[in-house]
Symmetry: C2
Subunit: 409 residues, 2 copies
């Protein structure tokens, strides 16, 4: 008699984005004429750039020809793509070997799967608010106690509140943590950790033999040259940190699916006697995964070419132009808005003490604009709201215009 994984029972609610989808569909059915503007999910809208398109077509053409056709590739990813990534990091003065990169089908699967190579009694610490995948995948794996609806937290999990008081950069974990999830530039707050702020975490992790899981998916949105775009810019990070990154926001690959993780070979934990973290992730990936699409990997290689990097830089600049329009637009009507300077997300306080979902419904019904309730990212997100800078410029401008004209404050 089969039974289901009982940890699914603990999950507090549906995954945030399906819930937004449900409320949106409901509103649209009731108001079929409302032209909704979507600043909710961080979904890219601008076409892929010419070099990348050429790389992808080339990837397809290779499969049309007996001489260049390739079947299964290296589960860890094509060597030339891993070498291109090594050069990309080296260009920023970081030494990562090509076999420390693991190409994947995106940051979401890697963020979700990485916990599976650690023991179930490892205690995770999360920024609060955070991308829900980190928490949910640890619940499903069985690391949490029950959910407490009063606090909005799971027992046994350590939350690191990110508030306006700490500029949305958390303090060190309040209790001993084994796995520390960090995301910078942050989704959802748009905050970016400085070198010194990351160093505190690296020192903590090295002291305790904890592991930092560093999500750098938005690193290409950092404009300020003083802010670190990789945790490996911090000395000692290779001994304690795994970095997860993606071509999704970097190059518009949200639907194309390509990412990478760096698992340094020198990263060890308490009981690495039978295998390093690197060798375990290798075993995990070769057992559960069969590599990213070879066509898509050709696209990734094109992103990392000189022309590709130039073009993708223009793409991220475009979205950052949107971010400025949103942030300034909100500030003009007296709303408190954070982030948006080195990250494609604007994190605003809801006006008049509304809850995040109340503001979601208000924004949807008054301005026909869809955003993301901050509380969906964790209890410290309550009273906040995320607006995404991904969208066509005219839609972003229209959304801001509607918010300014229609929102009753």
């Amino acid at each position: 008699m089969a039974r289901v994984n009982e940890h699914y029972r603990k999950l507090a609610a549906g995954y945030l984005f399906p819930e937004i989808g449900r409320r949106t569909r409901e509103f649209q059915q009731q108001h079929p004429d409302a032209q909704l503007l979507r600043l909710g999910i961080g979904n890219t809208t601008e076409p892929l750039t010419p070099s990348v398109i050429a790389g992808l077509h080339n990837g397809v053409d290779q499969l049309a020809d007996r001489e260049t056709y390739r079947g299964y590739g290296d589960e860890q990813g094509d060597l030339d793509l891993r070498e291109a990534l090594a050069r990309f990091y080296k260009g920023r003065s970081m030494e990562i070997a090509s076999d420390e990169f693991f190409i994947s089908d995106g940051a979401k699967p890697d963020s979700g799967n990485i916990q599976s190579i650690f023991s179930l009694d490892s205690r995770p610490a999360f920024q609060d608010p955070a991308y829900p995948v980190y928490v949910d995948t640890n619940v499903i794996a069985g690391r949490s106690g029950p959910y407490n609806p009063d606090t909005g937290t799971y027992e046994r999990f350590i939350y690191m509140p990110c508030t306006k008081e700490n500029r949305f950069i958390p303090e060190l974990p309040s209790e001993p943590a084994d796995l520390i999830y960090l995301c910078s530039p942050n989704n959802p707050t748009g905050a970016v950790a400085t070198h010194d702020e990351l160093k505190r975490f690296v020192d903590y992790a090295r002291d305790r033999k904890a592991v930092i899981i560093f999500d750098a998916s938005y690193s290409e949105y950092i404009d300020d040259p003083d802010l670190p775009r990789s945790i490996y810019e911090v000395d000692g990070a290779k001994q304690c940190a795994i970095e997860i990154n993606s071509f999704s926001k970097f190059a518009g690959f949200t639907g194309v699916r390509l990412g990478w993780s760096v698992v340094p070979k020198e990263l060890t934990v308490a009981d690495s006697d039978f295998g390093t973290v690197h060798s375990l992730w290798f075993r995990r990936q070769t057992t559960f995964f069969n590599g990213a699409s070879n066509i898509v990997q050709r696209g990734g290689l094109a992103v990392l070419s000189d022309a590709g990097l130039q073009e993708c830089g223009e793409l991220t600049s475009y979205y950052m132009g949107n971010a400025r329009i949103i942030k300034e637009g909100l500030q003009e009507i007296g709303l408190q808005a954070y982030g948006g300077d080195n990250a494609p997300y604007i994190w605003m306080e809801t006006p008049g003490g509304m809850t995040s979902w109340e503001f979601f419904d208000k924004l949807l019904s008054e301005a026909w604009v869809i955003g993301t309730p901050g509380s969906g990212f964790g209890p410290s997100g309550e009273g906040y709201f995320r607006l995404s800078a991904f969208g066509h410029r005219e839609d972003i401008s229209r959304a801001v215009d509607r918010i300014q004209k229609r929102l009753t404050l």
Copy 2:
């Protein structure tokens, strides 16, 4: 202090295919002039067909244009691809709703991940020999006891021996099983279960509320119209079976990465009160996965077009021509060979009581041909050897010629 998932310690050895790769590289280094012929990994070698290439190019072009660009899609897969699959099954008289299909990046991830939605105390039963992913992923999840090197089995796992005495179609589990992994056409034995043989398993599973995980990745290689190409050809299977399938061997997508699973909504288990198996797999996929590449899904849609199906049928026929050459070639020199009639694998007995790895080394050193040791698929595979029909015709013919001329028997 982080610790690693201790279940990795239990894994008996490296994953089969990396070990083959290691021995092959070692031999090649010692014999740099040896021109190796690879009949080991079931890796497709012939180019994608014209309709599919056109579909993929079209998928790329859509992303070059602002009007047709799409970012994140439905995690469950594009609706038009799921509808095309529903029509494909309907053409074979099976009614599967479009929302019972889950598009993935291949059968390997689905085969590995599917166990995660079931409780850890669910006892799995495996065909022996079997594709190693089923066993290994259950070990990593923690369902096994220790590995017993004398028997080549893990404690708590139920093995269903497939031998020449039972035509490589197993008996029902000898102890009560909760999850039953079946693969037909079988990898590695090439055996195909009849309708009546599958019915026995469906009846067993329905009686016990067990779940069958049915891997149909090689279904398009079935030539005999009387043999079932899907478990849903058996009445009642929708109440107890999940089917996993792939475009890899169907259309040459081994490196392109596209597959699907069917999780029927009427499939329930003992404690489905808080969610059906369908809803749990949906939750799992929306949390850990972000959909297959949108470009690749356009390719899958092209496979399922009339022209695509015609072309892909020619592709599978080509490989089946190879299978005949191998099987007959082995039989001509007195070797016992099975499979290969409705499956792209030939399963041969090693001559003179050699072990599978002994024969691997012999075949490599004498004929410069790489195959797959049967023992790598489970203890009942000992004394057997798998040869794959995936290869260019001339390489297959050359390999058979070398085996016939050089192998000392």
